[in-house]
């Protein structure tokens, strides 16, 4: 192929808007500069960088661009390399009693970190998730009880053995104990990552091990359908803190040695840690000449190659500068240069400096360590951009118009995927993945188009801003309640244990109402394979582990008497069968809705459905219901209406709505006319190099699309906001809380009246802890959601904890100042350690350690104050 000489496709995916990225060759160069460079890769980045660097413990802060004569640009970029640490965890049981007649269980791990054992015991042989707290004589000193079912014990301060650091904890047990097993998971406190065994808790069978015959048996983990889907979610699609550093417990291939006196088992652990390095780039005017001296300096040892190109004016067209090139430079396909840096004499890294003609306005580069390791700007995930002119040029760039990066996010991601994949064409498997991705995207678009053509509206050409319909809202079936709703999630993952939850919850009705809650979300009521209720079986049998149907009705009545509405948790995506088909597959349903395999989607590999293909994602632990079947829909509508009437539910919390098309939800809601409805559309946010992207528009777009498909009849949990709060609080990156347009970055910034904001629920927190809110920062989270538009939902565990007084105070502020789901918000500050906003001109709040005081003519008085937060209201 003759290489065209007119442009330098230097570096692919120059920015999020690089729609000109080409499949095969020339990666061109959208005429307009990508927005990310303009607003995040240049000036503001330096500001933020300060925070990052300081936190990383480096003394040096970036030098301001004009600090030194002749210095045009100077910046120290953090680089992040990954290093994999392999290690193992082990469990050892010494069956030989010691002097006090106690046996010893040792759990250890040799990977660096701050390890905590999160454990409990079970008394019977039943393999379930029933945990109990161990008796106090079993608890090692320093153990902390977690609620009433588990304790946490730190692994002992490391001691060395054969040159390796070892963390261990010992648990002593009476020889004659009735405890059947110890269950545990390992937690690494610094990163908050949880380690499970094949997606399950570790389990040490005790009674068996003393008998001696269990030693060699496979330590098989029973299938616990209740949690299966959710757990595997976590491991396969890392979310939040688990995503990075990325740790996995690979399959148990550990050696298995037989000890004479107990058992010993090892589990390999793979932990990826990041190593922080830096690269400093200085650009100076070269005395007298028109050239610029560019200097690279990095502390990465070994071979470091800079892959770079330059551009002129503001064309953003990348070129190779004319020769002479710096020493040790290769021309990379006529498109970019690859220059190897020179080892520094003291061995502390590499550096190089060279001259560049003054006519160029910018230099772009990535750092290449080896064939497989390319480092980009960790700040934004893009290539490094170094302006070679003074600020005026940058100002020009800022002017460049760029409004629609967001809309193309997804599609360009897919394109990038194509670019990435085409390079490894041999890998059929990858192609399959790509194919699936594209087809999924196509399906999504088609569903969106369908929902829009189905209920045609005239959109203005200018494009979609989700205009909130405050004036045209119809209370009857809007699904959004009064707009002043405050939700209480009335259960956690353990609530089924008492067997009397409805009674317990009902007894709290008055208290919740007086705190200011207007809606309570009650647990899934049906007969279910799992005790928590999320594996429904006979939909018309409402006797569950939470109590009987009569108790449920009584509880609903008590809430109604207290002036609160009650949401039922409706699991519509999947349903467990009662009978097997002729192949032995469980897909024949029983009870009043005795469907057969025609009600099961065809593309669920496990359940041999004969319905149509699923209109959404599949939940893998139970047959996914085919909502495209008329009989299924009419049965479900009837069921919902029955529950409305029979139980008295006022609305719905809809489980796993990713599993089917939102248009069907619209049908269901139109039929059952809920006062309030909210769907759980939970998927992963966008990450680059394990770091959460600043722009989460694609994520919230998916949620908004779903709401749109329901025609706005349901709200959705604002997962985007929760995710961004995680990063913002945990890493003190409060700048994340303002999007590029200065609005809140979650669903609540786009469609507040349909956003149900939350910081924790039974899946993310409670005893599952799939995606736990940063510990100790819950109140900051609540300050955010309780002062902001959207409909806030508060988690049961938080209400009935030491947080209660402060949460109650925040709720009363919200109610007193009449903040509602469409309140107007003005973001005042979104910086490294401070976020402040004013809501409806009546409330001002700040979170973060930074100092802030509201100003202006309004007379603000402090309404609430606590650790890293403060709320003011207008004095009346």
């Amino acid at each position: 192929m003759a290489v065209a000489s007119w442009s330098i496709p230097a570096i692919p995916r120059a920015g999020p808007t690089a729609r000109g990225v080409l499949l095969g060759g020339a990666f061109v160069t959208a005429a307009r500069p990508p927005v990310a460079w303009r607003c995040r890769a240049t000036l503001p980045r330096r500001v933020r960088l300060g925070g990052v660097v300081a936190r990383a413990g480096a003394a040096e802060t970036p030098v301001a661009g004009s600090g030194e004569a002749g210095l045009l640009f100077s910046e120290k970029f953090p680089l992040r390399r990954s290093r994999t640490v392999e290690g193992k965890a082990w469990v050892r049981v010494d069956a030989e009693p010691d002097g006090e007649g106690k046996c010893k269980v040792v759990i250890g791990c040799d990977v660096e970190g701050k390890w905590v054992l999160h454990w409990g015991v079970s008394y019977d042989g039943e393999q379930g998730r029933e945990w109990d707290q161990p008796p106090s004589d079993m608890r090692p000193p320093g153990s902390v009880p977690i609620k009433d079912y588990a304790i946490e014990t730190s692994l002992d301060t490391p001691h060395n053995s054969e040159g390796k650091t070892i963390h261990e904890v010992q648990i002593k047990i009476d020889k004659g104990t009735s405890i059947a097993a110890i269950n545990f998971v390992l937690k690494e406190e610094e990163t908050g990552a949880w380690f499970q065994h094949k997606g399950q808790d570790f389990r040490i069978p005790l009674s068996g091990s003393f008998g001696g015959d269990l030693l060699g048996t496979e330590q098989d983990i029973d299938v616990r359908p209740g949690a299966l889907g959710h757990l595997s979610n976590v491991l396969q699609k890392p979310e939040g803190p688990i995503a990075e550093p990325h740790k996995t417990v690979p399959d148990d291939k550990g050696s298995r040695t037989k000890h004479i006196s107990g058992f010993y088992e090892e589990y390999p652990i793979l932990k990826t840690v990041y190593v922080q390095n830096f690269i400093t780039v200085n650009v100076r005017e070269n005395n007298g000449t028109t050239k610029h001296a560019v200097e690279f300096d990095t502390d990465i040892p070994g071979e470091v190659i800079i892959h770079w190109g330059v551009c002129k004016d503001n064309t953003m067209t990348w070129e190779i500068p004319p020769e002479p090139h710096p020493p040790a430079t290769k021309i990379f396909r006529q498109k970019a240069l690859q220059t190897m840096l020179q080892q520094k004499a003291d061995g502390t890294g590499n550096s190089l400096s060279f001259l560049l003609d003054g006519e160029y306005s910018g230099l772009i580069f990535v750092v290449k360590l080896d064939e497989y390791t390319w480092l980009r700007n960790v700040e934004n995930g893009f290539d490094f951009y170094i302006p070679l002119t003074r600020a005026d040029a940058e100002a020009d760039k800022q002017k460049a118009d760029d409004k629609s990066s967001q809309a193309d996010g997804l599609i360009s991601d897919i394109r990038n995927l194509v670019v990435g994949l085409s390079s490894r064409r041999g890998q059929r498997a990858k192609n399959k993945v790509l194919q699936e991705d594209i087809l999924q995207e196509i399906e999504r678009l088609a569903a969106e188009a369908y929902s829009i053509f189905r209920s045609p509206t005239i959109d203005t050409v200018e494009e979609s801003v989700y205009i909130d319909d405050s004036s045209i809202v119809k209370p009857a079936c809007s699904g959004t309640g009064s707009g002043f709703e405050i939700l209480c999630q009335g259960f956690n993952w353990e609530s089924h244990k008492s067997g009397k939850w409805y009674v317990e919850l009902g007894s709290k009705a008055k208290e919740l109402s007086s705190m200011g809650f207007t809606i309570v979300w009650s647990p899934p009521p049906t007969d279910s394979v799992s005790p928590e209720g999320y594996m429904p079986r006979d939909l018309y049998n409402l006797n569950s582990r939470y109590g009987t149907m009569e108790e449920l009705k009584e509880a609903v009545k008590r809430f109604h008497e207290a002036g609160m509405k009650v949401l039922g948790d409706a699991v519509l995506n999947h349903r467990c069968a009662q009978f097997q088909n002729q192949n032995g597959v469980w897909n024949i349903f029983g009870g009043r809705l005795n469907w057969d395999d025609r009600a099961v989607v065809a593309d669920d590999p496990h359940f041999q459905g004969r319905g149509n293909k699923s209109s959404g994602d599949n939940f893998h632990a139970a047959p996914n219901i085919d909502h495209s079947q008329e009989f299924v829909r009419s049965d479900l509508k009837e069921w919902l209406c029955w529950m409305r009437k029979e139980v008295g539910y006022d609305g719905w919390r809809l489980d796993f709505v990713r599993g089917f098309w939102g248009g069907y939800v619209h049908d269901y809601l139109e039929a059952s006319e809920p006062y309030f409805a909210v769907g759980e559309y939970w998927d992963s946010l966008s990450y680059t190099y394990g770091e959460m992207d600043y722009n989460q528009d694609a994520h919230r777009q998916r949620i908004v699309d779903w709401i749109n498909a329901t025609n706005g009849t349901a709200g959705a949990f604002d997962v985007t906001t929760k995710g961004i709060l995680h990063s913002a609080l945990e890493r003190s990156e409060y700048w994340r809380l303002s999007d590029e347009k200065g609005k809140p970055p979650g669903v609540l910034g786009w469609w507040p009246s349909r956003a149900v904001t939350f910081i924790e629920n039974h899946d993310t927190g409670s005893t599952q802890g799939h995606w736990r809110f940063p510990f100790g920062m819950e109140l900051q989270g609540y300050v955010y959601i309780l002062t902001h538009p959207g409909t806030p939902a508060i988690f049961y565990d938080h209400i009935f904890s030491h947080l209660q007084p402060e949460i109650a105070k925040l709720i009363s502020i919200r109610n007193r100042q009449k903040i509602h789901c469409r309140s107007k918000i003005k973001i005042l500050k979104a910086e490294g350690n401070l976020y402040a906003a004013e809501i409806d001109e009546r409330v001002t709040m700040k979170i973060g350690a930074g100092h802030f005081e509201p100003s202006g003519p309004t007379n603000w008085v402090v309404a609430a104050e606590g650790q890293d937060y403060k709320v003011w209201e207008v004095s009346s």
């Binding site: 499949l23 005429a31 369908y450 929902s451 394990g690």
Partner: protein, 523 residues
């Protein structure tokens, strides 16, 4: 693969040139154009094509098997936009749906979309004012998605839809003189369709319809000037009702969709009758010019029910029959010729492929007289191919013939009307081949009930014969199109027909070394 890759090379080269010239490489839709490959502009990175290859579908068989068509390029696939995409000139209806739909079909592998443009929408209130904003917005969307655009210019309305039938100022002229509208034997008028006989008469506030068409073409060319080089690859000229060159031989007030009767002659407006009278006088048979055939059937009649089209001894075989049918068909060809001449004058400089649609009159094909064809205006003396005169005219004007029945299969319902889609398609292709007209395809209706129609489209489009459609347009997007009943089958269909077209190996290596590729696998 050789034909393919040389073609690709051209394409890439073209892409580069395009990009240089235009700064923004994205603008253009990047297509291996049919005749205009040189224009080819930017690239569509995720070309359909790519998907097709990915999915492991072989490119069309024609590559190896066929020796006739090695000069032919793969057929381009278009998807029609909703007929009411723009109805008031300024806004796009369901704009987000249109965007999503475009993106979906783009990802799926379509080359472009077809945009129906109506005279009544773009020039609604007065002959002096055009409102292109809405259509322009749609064209920009297509450009932004990297799709080609085929624009169909409809002068006649589409009854039953949300689109106005005729511009208000034309309708007022028709109210003053209803005879400028097509009229059937009982005096029923087609409110959406100006009689072919008034083409050159100043019946619309002092202007002739042809003058109006000319002005319309020019204004269109002007408003979309910058897109002709890139996005707009095809312009289809509507020559009659529903954009087809034909008489509205179906009952007034309907759009002819689903009408399978013989139909009626539409020669009873004052101007047609006047022409008939003059023509008869010239032929020396003044009595033949007094009216249409007295024994012609009514709309829903079977051809045997009346004298004119009777298989044996029907009047159609008489000298009168031939006289009348020849004149009737000649009027149609004359109209098509006049409008295409005007279109060529106005759009001749633009690098687009011109096309126009003919009807697919497949019912009553078993009758010797081909009655359905004849009342729609397709007739040639001596029992010859009725499509022949039309094909000849198209060829002379360099206009591609769009055949809108690529999906029609025999089925029970069609059989009772004597339908024979296969034979008709052969007949049309023969006519076009004889005269050297290119063809392109469309489907008659959304394929919902008979998914075998998809395989029929597939075989018609990927055929190895010489008369292979240069492009195929699937009609059309809308609620039903994206519904669960239709969409999945359509996806399967497209995945089956889209030809693989993936960058050459050497280009791939560029990608292999690019950092972004590595990024796909973060540690």
């Amino acid at each position: 693969m050789c034909a393919m890759s040389s073609l690709l090379a051209t394409h890439h080269h073209a892409a580069r040139c395009g990009a240089v010239r235009r700064e923004n490489a994205w603008i253009a839709p990047a297509r291996v154009g049919f005749r205009h490959a040189r224009r080819g502009g930017g690239r569509d990175e995720l070309s359909a094509a790519g998907l097709g290859r990915f999915l492991g579908y072989a490119t069309a068989d024609h590559k190896n098997k066929n020796h006739e068509v090695d000069d032919l390029e793969p057929a381009r696939l278009f998807v029609g936009l909703p007929i009411d995409t723009v109805t008031d000139g300024a806004t796009v209806n369901s704009a987000r749906g249109v965007t999503s739909g475009m993106r979906a079909v783009k990802l799926l592998g379509a080359d472009g979309v077809e945009l129906p443009v109506f005279w009544s929408v773009a020039q609604p209130e007065s002959p002096d004012r055009f409102s292109w904003a809405g259509y322009r917005a749609v064209a920009d969307m297509a450009r932004d998605e990297g799709l080609s655009l085929r624009v169909t210019l409809h002068f006649h309305g589409s009854p039953g839809g949300a689109v106005p039938l005729l511009p208000v100022w034309v309708s007022t002229a028709a109210a003053d003189d209803p005879d400028i509208l097509f009229t059937d034997r009982s005096g029923g008028r087609h409110d959406d369709c100006l009689s072919f006989a008034v083409d050159e008469l100043p019946v619309i506030h002092g202007r002739s319809p042809l003058d109006c068409y000319d002005a319309f073409f020019r204004s269109f060319a002007d408003a979309f000037q910058d897109l002709f080089d890139s996005t707009i690859t095809d312009v289809t000229v509507g020559l009659g009702p529903n954009g087809e060159l034909r008489y509205p031989s179906y009952p007034p007030g309907s759009d002819g969709q689903g009408f399978t009767g013989v139909g009626e002659f539409q020669c009873y407006d004052r101007y047609m009758l006047e022409q008939l009278r003059r023509h008869a006088a010239e032929a020396g048979e003044p009595l033949w010019g007094l009216s249409g055939p007295h024994d012609a059937p009514r709309y829903g009649d079977s051809p045997d029910a009346c004298g004119f089209f009777n298989d044996h001894g029907g009047s159609w075989q008489s000298a009168y029959g031939d006289f009348f049918l020849s004149w009737y068909a000649g009027q149609l060809v004359g109209h098509g010729d006049r409008v295409l001449a005007v279109a060529n004058g106005a759009l001749g400089d633009t690098p687009v492929e011109a096309s126009a649609k003919v009807p697919f009159m497949h019912w009553w094909h078993g009758a010797r007289s081909r009655p359905a064809e004849a009342v729609a205006g397709f007739y040639k003396s001596g029992g010859k191919n009725g499509y022949s005169p039309v094909a000849k005219m198209f060829a002379r004007r360099g206009c591609t013939v769009i055949v809108p029945g690529m999906d029609v299969c025999m089925n029970k319902q069609h059989r009772i009307t004597g339908s024979s889609p296969d034979q008709l398609l052969v007949q049309i292709k023969n006519a076009c081949r004889r005269h050297g007209a290119r063809i392109a395809g469309e489907n008659a209706s959304l394929v919902v009930t008979h998914t075998s129609s998809f395989s029929r489209i597939r075989s018609n489009v990927l055929t190895a014969e010489r008369m292979r459609p240069g492009h195929f347009t699937y009609q059309r997007m809308g609620e039903a199109f994206f519904s669960p009943e239709h969409w999945p089958a359509f996806v399967e269909f497209v995945r089956g027909v889209v030809c693989g077209e993936w960058p050459d190996e050497d280009e791939d290596r560029d990608v292999a070394d690019n950092p972004n590729a590595m990024e796909a696998q973060p540690v």
